[in-house]
Subunit: 424 residues, 2 copies
Amino acid sequence: MKTKVSLLLTGSELMNGDVVDTNSVLFAEQLNNIGLSIDKKVTIGDEQELLATEILQLSQTSDLLFINGGLGPTTDDLTAEVVATACNSKLELNKDAHQHLKTWAKRRNTTLNQPNLKQAYLPKNSNIIANRTGSAVGFSVELNQCLIICTPGVPSELAHMLREEITIILKTRFVPPQYNTLHRLHLFGIGESSIQALINDHLPAWPNEITIGFRAAMPILELKLAVNCQQGQKLLPEWLTKIKLLLGAHILAEGDNGNSTLADYLVPQLIRAHQKITVAESCTGGLIASQLTSISGASAVFEAGYVTYSNEMKTKMLGVPTSTLINHGAVSKETVIAMATGALANSGADFTIAVSGIAGPNGGTKDKPVGSVWIAWGDKSNIQAKYYCINVARKQFQHIVAARSLDLVRRMLIQSNEMAHYDK
Amino acid sequence: MKTKVSLLLTGSELMNGDVVDTNSVLFAEQLNNIGLSIDKKVTIGDEQELLATEILQLSQTSDLLFINGGLGPTTDDLTAEVVATACNSKLELNKDAHQHLKTWAKRRNTTLNQPNLKQAYLPKNSNIIANRTGSAVGFSVELNQCLIICTPGVPSELAHMLREEITIILKTRFVPPQYNTLHRLHLFGIGESSIQALINDHLPAWPNEITIGFRAAMPILELKLAVNCQQGQKLLPEWLTKIKLLLGAHILAEGDNGNSTLADYLVPQLIRAHQKITVAESCTGGLIASQLTSISGASAVFEAGYVTYSNEMKTKMLGVPTSTLINHGAVSKETVIAMATGALANSGADFTIAVSGIAGPNGGTKDKPVGSVWIAWGDKSNIQAKYYCINVARKQFQHIVAARSLDLVRRMLIQSNEMAHYDK
């Protein structure tokens, strides 16, 4: 029978619109990894009576109840108290929690004050759950045959506690561990429907035991292969190999949740290859350079970027001939190739990217509508250029152009002949 | 008596971690604006029985219940059906909804198919709520003296419906409209506790009728002044003037929700002043340029940006003397002033920014730890530089440096002598 899981999120900041709840995603991901899923989420502000009533009700309908938030030292942190009320018990000094706080204070060369000490008082019969970084320990209690697990609201503390402590507790109680696996492929340059069509055409015998799912982590697409039975577990390696062959150069990486930009994949690849890259940007205005340099270690592969927003600067900084700009316009194959060539020569890098386009909302013409962009990329021996029309809002346009540019270099670097189908 | 408001969010994508719920924020903001607030949120997947039970329960404890999502044409869109079940009634063809769908299809030069037509079937006695863009109309019904309002899950459709339709319905039923106001000031360069201290010291007679609240919309801080009574409404203009005088140059703008970067404020200001800006970036690697150029109309104020990540490129692209780099290092007052001067000369801009720092996690030394940064800014007649140590994660460091750099130019442009207190 399915384990019934509820999640109670607390905190007035979640009610008044000041904070977006991202902790739910952490819960869902970690639970999914061990084959559990959340059936109901409830969010309530810091209201003692409402919280206690809700905990009691949820404990009656769930096998597992997570409470998130309200473990801090201040008076609006109510979780321990309302759990005790729901359990019809009292708060008492928990020795393990007290020890944790003493160690925590010692590491900070400070002493415990009264508000901190409050965090050592937990409902009777609580088991504490370690918190590696923060002062608030987690704790679990049983009520109405439901396991209640109380967790900190700070996302980094929660993420660590879920991964390192809670999933281990849950595995022993709720999950037959060996049969549950979630395997992710991070993809770019191919869409969901194209992947589904490829599988239908080339892997028609795809086994039912391996469920295919997708997660759009813009601009990255994640393909999730989930199994939850012994047979699925047995089949997974073989079918994983097959689908990896099928998807080829569209695969950025495999493993945990994906990254936020293509630079997260390209920079390590350039570091491994001992190759440097430069960028000449018009319509993206520095976004590609900033994505590359947001990655730790970027200085090994990136020395110079040229943001040439005006025609004059394309000529002055990159040597684009005035005649090219006059004859073909700033948004043209000739201009981006001249930009890419100039950046390569000036910087001494191995790879180059140049982009010029119309980000909008103004500046479009009949021939070159808003969304038009030319991307040039290559190395000393081979600079290519491609035209795309990406008619979306300005900032989104800039992000898509950056992603495609970096992906084109990534494909060149792995010497892939496989073309991306960015528009599908 | 306070209007009790509940929000039921539906959709399996909200349960499995694939989607972060941002619609809650839209609800909270629009309700806040008219003096209402949400007491309880419940999130459930596309499960018919669970949804119907929850709607019935929430209707018994709420004056107003919003349901979000599940209005689409597919079989997992269950809202109309489960509301009908909860009301113990049936779905019937709603003439207004049918007319909306016919108009919607006509605008798209298409005809209604069977799945679309499903959207015209609503619970008996529903009143429809217009949806300007999508096929799904909203609708309201009464149950247990609770007004149930069903809304689309697509954020842009929801935002429009809340703003243009629903708040008007609510104002007539729940809110004494003339007494509720929320006024926002967008701030940068001063923290919450400093503002509170300033008010305590300089405006000790601050009236109870005007509630002060904050919203951290990183990197912007919003100060929210809320009134919900006639006396507060009367006092607001006078005290708003006083607090604006007190906060002076820390105020970026006033009005609706804030923007995402300092560039959103600086670019319009530069456009109005007919002034151009250039940037020379080391540790921010193009981020400042990309924030400036993410704003529509940036081409009027921005022509060139120099991403000089290596020492060699600082010399080659900006003319920073090799001796300066050797004697003072890349992260020094002398280097950033030379970078700023070089960028100004090369670009012909009116204002300049240069930054050089150690974004980390590697590269720090005892003298210049990770988080060290020099920012230079100014115009032809006056280039200044300041040192900060901002010891946070790499990407956050880059965003904070970008925000402070743009803010320093903003203050110069309004000729403010008021110094920012970025670290408080």
